[in-house]
Amino acid sequence: MLDQEKNWGMLLGYRLYVLAFFIFLAAPLVAAGTFAFNDSLFPALPWQGFTFDWFFNDTEPKLGMFHDRRLLRGLYYSFIIATAVSGLSVFVGTCNAFLFTRREFPAKNFFYIMMIVPLVIPGVILGISILVFVSSIANGIEESYGIELEFMRPGILLVVLGQFSFITTITTLVIIARLKKFDGAMEEAALNLGASRARVLMTITLPFLRPAMIAAGIVAFLVSFENFNTTLFLVGSESPLTITMFDRMAKVGSTPVLNAVSFFLIVGSGLLALISILIQRDRSSE
């Protein structure tokens, strides 16, 4: 009996710890989001009253995020970059998944580790190395041929490539996990029922992978959207949102409009994450 109570007490303590942890997780986000509604020029206490100005007001000094051209432009670039990155990384991730789960080739283990490596290289270094590499090629070309290859200069393309370089590892792992659960007999069954190889791919294998591809795409999108370290070095004049916000914070001065953006992103990413989890869960019930 005594033991029972002790157990119960411990479980309660455990639950409280878990609760405290989730409060810890939520606190800064709640703080960042809440101040979006503070009717003040500074994102700080005291509370000056509730307002939606930081979202919708269209005049300085309380220019709302939906009227702030630079933030909107940042959002737009982030969106373009994230879309490109997720498309590209899901495509390559899918190829990789097939490569590593379906094929045998020499030094496969080594290549597998190479595939993992980008995930553990510090983002700053990824950014730098790509910047240095591409710039030196571009400089070389300029010096020898006098041709300026603008796409090899910091800008959207390099940002996309930089993010792609490590996000692909994530998408690959997500898709591999799914493909490993695929019963190869299913493809043989389809062949056996008269389908051509292409048809098998389109009607059996890819539909089976689709939830993982969507989930991987969402993950890639979100990771790209929030990436800072790699992007920092590769960005040109088209700054995505995180860079814009950082510049704003460090170089201009933050108003609660940054909180408004944060609020917007927290809610948006939360929804996307929810979708990706639902998709993942949906298929696990099979």
Partner: protein, 376 residues
């Protein structure tokens, strides 16, 4: 055109090697149209490999495979009219039942209306008329089984291959499906080739069974032939239960042999088909538990023995009550315990552990084979 072939499926001298492994070794057989043919063998003996060659997923290293008389060696799997039920069924989880069955028809380019009719038809034939709209995960194990068969049968295959389709089911369901499969085969009247390592499945369902061991066919025959007239020690040991002794021939005459077992017993046996012995040959003797009569010693003594019956005494080690299939483990003076089928009614006449009993059997039922192929 050639005359109508007599056999739906013929394999001649088919072999398959994977590197050093000889998975299938010079296998030949033919299957008459409309029959239920099983391939029975222990795990790893090459059954699946053989079936995959028939379906076209592997190319034979040597030999020829003919379907309806035509060689299919160059034909890719999706063009062979041989359909297959996979061990784990491989139903498509992203499609419902209707779409699963329609899949093959769609691949063949059938029209919408035709597909609808055929699917409806086949669902009725497997007695599941209303499950078309169900998702696969909403089906029970037995229903899935039938859908997997329907998915193949709707394409009207020349041969249906089944690779241990009952392996994943639970005990009671497996029993029920055995009978059901046989009925379905009757109904569709298509040639079934059924793979299993469970001898009772093979015996119960098949018209003909091939016993396979290490890539080779040891014997092809009806279930009765395999059971009662095994062609090799392996078949004798693998099909049905049997007590087994190793020994050396002491004397051989009149189609009988006297054998000294390594444990020291002397037994009389009948050489298996095609076997002849000379004294000194190493042999293995097989006696099925159901051919052994068990009698309490204090009873009529050896009176129960037939003329020339072999018999020995032993102490009952334990009783394995299993209703109609009960069995006694009897420890003879020398060697391993002997299994004998008995009937336990729960009455006072039942034998009990610790009793001394007399076991006897007819030498006709004691088959012996030269030691060669090591049975499992």
């Amino acid at each position: 055109m050639t005359s109508k072939p007599d056999f739906d499926l013929e394999c001649s001298n088919v072999s398959k090697t994977f590197g050093p492994v000889r998975a299938v070794d010079d296998v030949s057989f033919e299957i008459p149209s409309g029959s239920f043919f099983s391939i029975l063998g222990p795990s790893g003996c090459g059954k699946t490999t053989l079936m995959r060659m028939i379906a076209g997923f592997e190319n034979p290293t040597a030999g020829d495979i003919r379907i309806k008389g035509m060689s299919v060696l160059g034909t890719p799997p999706n063009r062979r009219n041989v359909k297959m039920v996979f061990q784990h069924l491989a139903l498509f989880p992203m499609m419902n039942v209707y779409e699963n069955i329609a899949y093959g028809l769609r691949c063949a380019g059938a029209g919408k209306a035709e597909i609808a009719t055929k699917v409806k038809d086949v669902l009725e034939r497997i007695a599941l008329p209303d499950v078309g709209e169900r998702e696969i995960h909403q089906l029970s194990g037995g229903q899935k089984q039938r859908i997997a068969i329907a998915r193949c049968m709707v394409l009207d295959p020349d041969v249906l291959l089944l690779d241990e389709p009952l392996g994943a089911l639970d005990l009671k369901l497996r029993e029920a499906m055995k009978i059901e499969l046989k009925l379905l085969q009757h109904q569709f009247n298509t040639t079934f080739v059924y793979i299993t390592h469970d001898q009772s499945e093979a015996l119960v369902m098949s018209d003909h069974v091939a016993v396979m061991n290490s890539g080779r066919f040891e014997q092809i025959g009806t279930p009765q032939q395999l059971y009662h007239k095994p062609a090799s020690a392996f078949v004798a040991g693998f099909v049905g239960d049997a007590n087994r002794w190793n020994g050396r021939v002491a004397e051989a005459r009149d189609g009988r042999a006297r054998v000294e077992t390594s444990a020291g017993l002397t037994l009389t046996c009948t050489p298996g088909s095609g076997q002849t012995f000379r004294p000194g040959d190493a042999v293995e003797i097989f006696v099925r538990p159901e051919f052994i009569r068990t009698s309490a010693r204090n009873g009529q003594d050896a009176a129960n023995d037939g003329a020339g019956d072999d018999g020995l005494e032993g102490i009952v080690d334990s009783l394995l009550f299993n209703g109609a299939n009960s069995r006694a483990l009897v420890r003879p003076p020398q060697g391993e315990p002997i299994e004998a089928d008995i009937t336990l009614t729960g009455g006072p006449e039942d034998i009990r552990p610790g009793e001394t009993v007399r076991l006897s059997w007819s030498p006709d039922q004691a088959l012996c084979f030269a030691v060669g192929t090591a049975p499992r």
